[in-house]
């Protein structure tokens, strides 16, 4: 029962962030599943995707109704994104190396600071 209430609250909060910011559901759901809902680490990532997918479909539906979808950019970026996903999975397993993760984390913080001030 407590698990269900906790799950409902985490789901609602993630959905809100997904809708308002168009991203970021996973950054909350993955750790919440592991820490609060005791989902084993190897299942947390996949379970998170199964939750984020319906949230994203609902958010995207409302964005498109409000005219916030650039179809041309979406199509080109999605197609090359799928190719990038395959390439990454096949050839670039080393991408999870410590140094690269740190470089990306720092770039993210720098990008965030630029967006905050610019």
């Amino acid at each position: 029962m407590i698990r269900t209430i906790l799950g409902a609250a985490i789901g609602m909060l993630s959905g809100l962030i997904n809708g308002v910011l168009g991203a970021g559901g996973g950054t909350i759901i993955v750790p919440a599943l592991e820490r609060f809902l005791k989902v084993p680490a190897h299942k947390a990532h996949a379970t998170a995707i199964s939750i984020i997918l319906p949230l994203t479909i609902v958010s995207a539906y409302f964005y498109s109704r409000q005219g916030l979808i650039n179809m041309r950019a979406t199509l080109i970026i999605s197609l090359s994104g799928i190719a990038g996903g395959f390439a990454g999975a096949k050839f670039l397993r080393k991408l999870s190396g410590k140094t690269i993760r740190i470089v990306f984390a720092v770039s993210m913080i720098v990008a965030g600071l630029r967006m905050l001030w610019k």
Binding site: A23, K43, I51, P54, I76, G81, V106, L116
Partner: protein, 122 residues
């Protein structure tokens, strides 16, 4: 030219999504900072982008029995209420405000990832 930039952006975001960091925290800043997208439109691109890529990943994970369906149903059922409300909120808020909120999100995610990576083994 524009098409080439889109292709490169998507490809790089696709590779990075495989690292476990969500594609959006990379895709949205690139679209707004380098390609001049309005924040809301960048968010829209990211949402649409996740649908096919997320569905493909989910299919593989589901076949490998890595999805805890029972708890996922609870989160998703309440999550869609949140995302519908959130998407309505986003439409009513200016892109500037969303951009600042988004900036805070990626600073938090980046800091969290920095500590996680620094503590990880090489």
């Amino acid at each position: 030219m524009e098409i080439i930039l889109y292709l490169i952006t998507g490809f790089v975001a696709g590779i990075i999504s495989g690292m476990g960091i969500g594609g959006g925290v990379v895709l949205i800043p690139v679209l707004t900072l380098f390609l001049g997208f309005e924040q809301k439109i960048a968010q829209g691109v990211n949402l649409m982008y996740f649908i096919p890529t997320g569905a493909a990943a989910l299919w593989v994970h589901y076949k490998n029995k890595c999805v805890e369906t029972k708890i996922a149903l609870v989160l998703a059922a309440f999550g869609v209420l949140g995302s519908a409300a959130g998407a309505y909120l986003a439409a009513g808020v200016s892109s500037l405000v969303l951009r600042k909120l988004f900036a805070l999100l990626i600073i938090i995610v980046g800091t969290n990832e920095l500590f996680a990576a620094a503590g990880a083994k090489e």
